[in-house]
C-alpha cells in the first residue's frame, strides 16, 4: 500500500466518468482531494456524498460532475450551496442529474455496499415525495410479517476518498471522532484513497477504534490540513468563518470562477493553495 502524493493518487485512481464518494460528515472532509480533482480537470464524475457541502459546491461549480447522489446539499448553518443550486436550477456550468435520498437511506445504501449486498432495507421514505421522484427507492415485503419496507440499491463507488488523522508506515489508517459513514463508504468502494494529517510509526489506536487495515487501502497521501475548512479532531477545528465567507464567494458565478482560478487551478497543490490564501491574508 503505497504512500504517494495526492496528485499521483488522483492521477492514478480517479478517471473521467467515475463514481466518486468523498465522505466525511462535517468532520474530516477531504477538501484537498476535491480541489486536486478540480486541478486535474476531471469531468463527468458521478459524485456521491450524504452532505454535498462546500467540497462538492467547488467541484460542481468547476464542472467536474454530471450526476450527484446525496441526501442534504447546503452550506451547514449558513444556507445554500450556491454552485450546486445553480447547476440544478439552471444547468450552469453544466446540467447536474440528481439521485436524492434521505440520510437514513444513504446510510443503508453505503452499509449494503460495504457488505456487498445488492440492497439495503429501512423503514423509511414514509409518506414522502422522495420515493416518487427517485426510482431507486423501492420496496420489499417482509417474509415474516408481511410489512412493506423501503429498499435502496447498494452504493459501491468506483473510488471513495477519505481524510483521516493518521496512517502508520504499513498503511493502516486511524479515524477518530465523528465518523459519519466513512468506514462504510470506504469498504463499499472498488478503490479507496485516504489523505491523512500525518504518517506515524504507531497509530496508538484504542482496541475498538475505527482502523482501516492497509490491505483495504489503495493509496495514502499525507496532506496536513487536507480537511480544511472542515476539521480534523486533535489537529485543528472547523473554520466556521470560511463557511460563512463562502456564501459570498459562491453566490456569484464570476467571483466563484475567479476564486477557483486563483486558488485551485492557479496553484500546483494544496500547499500552494494554502500559501496563496495566506499571501492574500485569508488563509488559515
Amino acid at each position: 500500500m503505497p504512500v504517494v502524493t495526492l496528485g499521483e493518487a488522483i492521477a492514478s485512481y480517479v478517471r473521467d466518468g467515475d463514481s466518486v464518494a468523498l465522505e466525511g460528515f462535517t468532520h474530516l472532509i477531504p477538501f484537498a482531494a476535491g480541489q486536486e480533482i478540480i486541478r486535474q480537470g476531471r469531468r463527468g464524475l458521478h459524485l456521491i456524498r450524504m452532505t454535498p457541502d462546500l467540497v462538492y459546491d467547488q467541484m460542481v461549480g468547476a464542472g467536474c460532475a454530471a450526476r450527484l447522489t446525496f441526501s442534504w446539499g447546503g452550506n451547514p448553518g449558513v444556507g445554500s450551496a450556491h454552485r450546486i443550486r445553480e447547476a440544478i436550477e439552471s444547468g450552469w456550468p453544466q446540467p447536474l442529474a440528481i439521485s436524492e435520498h434521505s440520510h437514513a437511506g444513504m446510510a443503508a445504501a453505503y452499509t449494503a455496499g460495504a457488505a456487498r449486498l445488492p440492497f439495503g432495507i429501512l423503514r423509511g421514505y414514509i409518506g414522502t415525495d422522495l420515493a416518487t421522484v427517485n426510482p431507486a427507492v423501492r420496496a420489499v415485503t417482509c417474509p415474516y410479517t408481511g410489512e412493506r419496507l423501503a429498499t435502496v440499491p447498494a452504493l459501491n463507488p468506483d473510488v471513495t476518498i477519505l481524510h483521516a488523522q493518521k496512517a502508520d508506515r504499513a498503511g493502516n489508517v486511524l479515524i477518530s471522532g465523528i465518523l459519519g459513514a466513512q468506514k462504510e463508504a470506504g469498504l463499499a468502494a472498488r478503490k479507496l484513497i485516504v489523505t491523512v494529517e500525518e504518517v506515524v510509526d504507531d497509530l496508538g489506536a484504542p482496541m475498538n477504534a475505527v482502523v482501516l487495515p492497509h490491505w483495504v487501502v489503495t493509496a495514502i497521501a499525507c496532506v496536513p490540513g487536507g480537511a480544511w475548512p472542515s476539521y480534523a479532531r486533535g489537529y485543528y477545528s472547523r473554520d466556521n468563518a470560511f463557511y460563512i465567507a463562502w456564501d459570498e464567494v459562491s453566490r456569484d458565478r464570476a467571483r466563484f470562477t475567479d476564486w477557483i482560478a486563483r486558488y485551485v487551478l492557479g496553484t500546483p497543490d494544496f500547499n500552494g493553495f494554502l500559501a496563496r490564501l495566506r499571501a492574500d491574508g485569508v488563509g488559515p
Partner: protein, 267 residues
C-alpha cells in the same frame, strides 16, 4: 404583572426558542437539528432539564455543548458527548428503533396536516428555488415518538399545498398517518412566531391553540396560507422570563465568540 408592548424587549426567535425549550422535559431523549431547535434543546438543558439526552444525527449521543454548533457535526458536539457512533448506527439503532422521545424539525413550508417541505420551491424537475433537501428529517418525522416543528409563520411558509413533501406529518389527515406504517405519533406541536399550533383530534388538522400576548389570533390567521382554525380556549403564552433570556443570550454570546475565533492550521 407582565409587560405588554408592540415591540417587546425580546426577538421573535428568542420567544420561539424559549417556548420550544419549555416543551422539553428532564430526561427526555431529543433528536436535535441545527439552528433554533438546537438552541431550544440546549436552553432546556441549561434551565429545567439538566438530564435531557441530546442526540445529533452526526452520531453524538448525550452531548452537552458549551456553545451551539454551527454545523451538525461541530467538534464541540463530539468532545462533550457520552459516546460517538457511526452515522448508519444512529439512524438504525437509535432513531428507527423508536428510542427518540422528541424529534425537532424545521422546514421551508408546512401544510395544514403538518407535512413538511425542505426540498424545493416550484416543480422538482424545474425548481424556482432548490433547497438543501430532507437530510435526516423523513425518518425523524416517521420514528420519533413525537415531533416538534419550529417555523416562522407567513402565507409563504404556511401553504395550502406543499410543492414537495420531504417529511410526512399527518399526510392527508383524518388518521391517514396511522395507516401508512409510520411508528411515531407525528407532529404534536408547531411552534411559530405567533404561538403554537397542534393537530386536532380526528381531523389531524393544525389549529392555533396558544398565542403570544403580543399578537392576536387574527394576526396568526392572516399569516397562514389556509383558513387557520383557532381553538376556542386559546392559551396565552407567558413571555420569556428574565432568567430564560439571560441564559439564552449568554449561550448565543459564547457561541458568537467561539465561532469567530480564527482557525490556524499547524504549519
Amino acid at each position: 404583572m407582565t409587560v405588554r408592548a408592540a415591540t417587546p424587549p425580546w426577538t421573535a426567535d428568542e420567544m420561539m426558542t424559549v417556548t420550544a425549550a419549555r416543551m422539553l422535559w428532564n430526561g427526555c431523549v431529543c433528536f436535535v437539528g441545527i439552528g433554533l431547535p438546537s438552541a431550544a434543546a440546549n436552553l432546556a438543558r441549561l434551565l429545567h432539564a439538566p438530564q435531557i439526552v441530546l442526540i445529533y444525527e452526526s452520531g453524538t449521543i448525550g452531548t452537552r455543548p458549551e456553545v451551539l454548533p454551527l454545523s451538525i457535526g461541530d467538534g464541540e458536539l463530539a468532545e462533550t458527548a457520552g459516546t460517538v457512533v457511526p452515522l448508519p448506527e444512529i439512524f438504525a439503532y437509535w432513531l428507527q428503533s423508536g428510542r427518540i422521545d422528541v424529534g425537532f424539525l424545521g422546514a421551508a413550508q408546512v401544510d395544514r396536516f403538518a407535512n413538511l417541505n425542505s426540498t424545493v420551491i416550484g416543480p422538482y424537475d424545474r425548481p424556482q428555488v432548490r433547497l438543501p433537501g430532507a437530510g435526516g428529517a423523513p425518518e425523524i418525522a416517521a420514528h420519533a415518538r413525537q415531533v416538534f416543528v419550529v417555523l416562522k409563520q407567513s402565507a409563504r411558509s404556511f401553504v395550502p399545498k406543499l410543492d414537495f413533501v420531504s417529511s410526512g406529518g399527518f399526510l392527508t389527515g383524518g388518521g391517514a398517518r396511522r395507516l401508512c406504517g409510520a411508528p411515531g405519533a407525528g407532529p404534536q406541536a408547531v411552534i411559530t412566531d405567533y404561538g403554537i399550533l397542534k393537530p386536532q383530534p380526528g381531523s389531524d388538522e393544525l389549529a392555533l391553540v396558544a398565542r403570544y400576548e403580543t399578537v392576536t389570533a387574527a394576526d396568526a390567521v392572516k399569516a397562514t396560507g389556509w383558513p387557520l382554525v383557532v381553538a376556542e380556549q386559546l392559551e396565552v403564552l407567558a413571555p420569556p422570563t428574565a432568567a430564560e433570556l439571560e441564559v439564552l443570550r449568554a449561550l448565543h454570546a459564547r457561541t458568537q465568540i467561539a465561532h469567530s475565533r480564527p482557525v490556524k492550521l499547524p504549519v
